[in-house]
Structure formats: C-alpha cells, structure tokens
C-alpha cells in the first residue's frame, strides 16, 4: 500500500503543488499513526496485566516509559549500526544515504 499510495500521490501532485504538499503531509501523518498503533500493541503487552475499571497510575507511567524507551532503543540501534558500519561494513550502502 505504501508504494502504491506514494506513487499515486506523486502522479496527482505533478499537476498541483498544493496537492503535492498535502499528499506528502498526509502520508507522513499516516506513518506516525501506524507507529503509534505499533507502540500501543507493544506497550499494552508490557504494561497491561489485567484490564480494570480505570487506567491506574502505575500502568500509565509504564506506558509512557515504554514509549520513551522504544524510541531510545530505536535510536541506539541505529547509532550503533552506523558506528559498526564505519568500522566493518555489513551493507553495501550507508544507512544514512
């Protein structure tokens, strides 16, 4: 869906710069939404033992920490991969390119 969506946006945007910018913004928003869905699933498994009548403070703090640590983990993995890539290339192209 991603590539089809992007190519559709591109073909539409070629005639209207406003539409092009709009499509790019919507695609980016959708990426964020999917990431939030993914994190909610992961953090639900880690933080929600037995669903009760309300979201207790401990579970809420766990969810917030879970999101923060997920992002920290992503950044750590990317940084380490880039460092390793410099010392001992595993991929034919640089990740950041």
């Amino acid at each position: 869906m991603e590539s089809a969506w992007s190519s559709r946006g591109t073909s539409l945007g070629s005639s209207d710069p406003q539409l092009q910018r709009f499509m790019e913004a919507e695609v980016q928003k959708q990426r964020v939404q999917l990431l939030i869905h993914h994190m909610t699933e992961l953090c639900w498994e880690k933080c929600m033992d037995k669903p009760g009548p309300r979201l207790d403070g401990r579970a809420e703090l766990c969810l917030v920490n879970c999101v923060e640590r997920f992002i920290d983990t992503s950044q750590f993995i990317l940084n380490r991969l880039e460092q390793t890539q410099k010392a001992r290339p595993l991929f034919s192209e640089r990740l950041s390119d």
């Binding site: 939030i36 869905h37 669903p51 009548p53 979201l55």
Partner: protein, 95 residues
C-alpha cells in the same frame, strides 16, 4: 481502500480535478483506515485477554472483561499518542 480511492478518481474522469474535494476525500479515507487499524488490534488484544477456552457463547464475565479491555486499550492508545508527540516536541526543541 486503494481500489475505492481509485474508482472515486475514475468517476471524475473528463472533468478538472478539484484539489479541495480530493484533499477532503483523502482525509476521510485515512481516518477510516486509522479507525480500522485500531479496531482490528483492539479486537485481537481483547480476545487474547478475555477469552480462555471459547464456549458456546460469550458469557457475562467475558463480556464485562471485553468492555473493560476496550476502554483500557483506548486509554493506552491515547497515552501512547501523547507520550510520542511529547517526545517529538522535545526532540525538535533540542535541535
């Protein structure tokens, strides 16, 4: 979603495309897709949490559990969204 989107555009063939109408349509399609994502994941999570050995029907305790699970999953989604957006803003402020 994609095919529906395509056919909508096909329907306007011949006439000039109205960017405003297209934008509105795209927003609605994305909102529907987002709601469907949430519903699918919530259904899966709550089924796993609340249903042990599936019986002949959903009994009272299963229904109560599912109701609470749905509410808590929505709470979790809201908390995750706020935490993520808050993090993004902090990262931007530090740039």
């Amino acid at each position: 979603m994609d095919s529906g989107f395509g056919s909508d555009f096909g329907g306007t063939g011949g006439g000039k495309l109205d960017p405003g109408a297209i934008m509105e349509q795209v927003k609605v399609q994305i909102a529907v897709a987002n709601a469907q994502e949430l519903l699918q994941r919530m259904t899966d999570k709550c089924f796993r949490k609340c249903i042990g050995k599936p019986g002949g029907s959903l009994d009272n305790s299963e229904q109560k559990c599912i109701a609470m699970c749905m509410d808590r999953y929505m709470d979790a989604w809201n908390t995750v969204s706020r935490a993520y957006n808050s993090r993004l803003q902090r990262e931007r402020a530090n740039m």
